[in-house]
Symmetry: D2
Subunit: 149 residues, 4 copies
């Protein structure tokens, strides 16, 4: 699991007084930076080789400006050319937002999906997602309670 610490930015709030829902995708993209570097070690845009096919978000609790946020990221599923990632946003020890995304290893010239090479696959397998947040709300609450003790 990767851990990204993010300071909410004031412009990421909206008139309701908390972080706007469109911000979480931005944070998740920032948190995928380490994943991007597994696929593109030189962090060079010209060698870009992944696209996103699908992404769902669940908004559980409000997030506020003024307190740091932790974004946990890990691999949920590894297909032939696809990778499913999970993301979870925590603020003050509470799970606030979850999301997933399906990435496709992709050749921009031939415009086709490409198998994930063995070395990348092995590196990704070191960062499997393990999170109670994938369970029911009760499991999440149990997880949070146990983390406080």
């Amino acid at each position: 699991m990767f851990t990204e610490v993010i300071k909410p930015r004031f412009l990421e709030t909206d008139a309701l007084g908390h972080i706007n829902n469109n911000t979480y995708g931005v944070w998740f993209e920032a948190a995928r930076d380490e994943i991007f570097r597994i696929f593109m070690p030189k962090a060079n845009v010209k060698e870009w080789n992944i696209i996103m096919a699908h992404s769902p978000f669940d908004f559980l609790k409000e997030v506020f400006w003024g307190k740091k946020v932790i974004v946990k990221t890990g691999v949920i599923k590894l297909g032939n050319s696809s990778i499913e990632l999970g993301h979870a946003v925590y603020q003050e020890g509470k799970l606030c937002t979850t999301g997933k995304c399906v990435l496709i290893h992709y050749n921009f010239e031939t415009k086709q999906a490409v198998s994930v090479p063995k070395d990348i696959r092995e590196e990704l397998e070191k960062h499997l997602f393990s999170g109670h947040w994938l369970g029911t709300l009760e499991e999440i609450e149990e997880y949070e309670r146990s983390n406080k003790n």
Copy 2:
């Protein structure tokens, strides 16, 4: 169905040369403006009474700067206090991105979900989502082909 015409903004592109995935949620929020006004006729932030619980996105085709985009929005499902909306982004007659969102009619003071009142419900029922994009890719392609003729 509501129709929102949007000019992609240059900063909404990214280094891959097309619209960044995080932009679609922003456009969908803009396209929900008419829905917001059904719930809050005065468009006053202080009377805000909906929250978003869940939102998935499907990225089908790249969208580019320089050509207008149409965002179609309609009601998919009306629950007791929840409303599911569908969104579809078209550029040059092609379906590029789809999304849904589940909104909850909500009382920010009591922090509880509230039944959607009858008058709002009746207004929402006038804007049901009807879109082939909810079907398979083949159906979408068939729909696009038939629209060209």
Copy 3:
């Protein structure tokens, strides 16, 4: 003068309840779309030939979600390779924000400034900026008073 009508987006507000200051640059960029098309008639990113060197903003009045905004844009000064533009944001007939920007006609391959060709120059001269907002605050207030009558 170009006129761009913009609906403020909810995510463009912040926790203070009005439009976040970082939004105006985004609107100004959107309002420059017509200028971009004078320089790049095909609206193709690959033929991009301008860069921004400098840009100041003046924040006069708060702008709110829920009411449309007008952005006025015109040419203030035409140099050899540089163009100075002026922008002004109005909401409900009041001048809220002003900005300028200095663009340079630029060759991305040779990385050098390039003279603005005669045909582009003639087109730009049709869109000169004329606005009392370039004057003192008193002149702006006088202008707004006279617009109400």
Copy 4:
């Protein structure tokens, strides 16, 4: 001087392949976080007491995704109720963007500017801006050359 280390986000790039100009204001706002906390120690939006009146930007060099950025922030001038800040963005040891902003200590209830209290003033004076970037381009280049040796 405050130092904020920022990882450019992929969505902050645009189709020209580098960071979009509208991003710098966002980074500067993030870098003002420490200044905000001098004015509002509880980091509570309800006690907000500053507004921005003016802000210019100078774009000197392109900034890229994939390499960290340093934003230096300091106080340029302290007026009775106003504070002028300077910001400078460095990537790979090079000065890329500069900006200033004029903030006003403000009472949102009476809608009036308010003198900066003595304790805040003393705290701000510890963070004066000192940067060659305020000089000419030649001075900036000299400064960068000398930093390499």
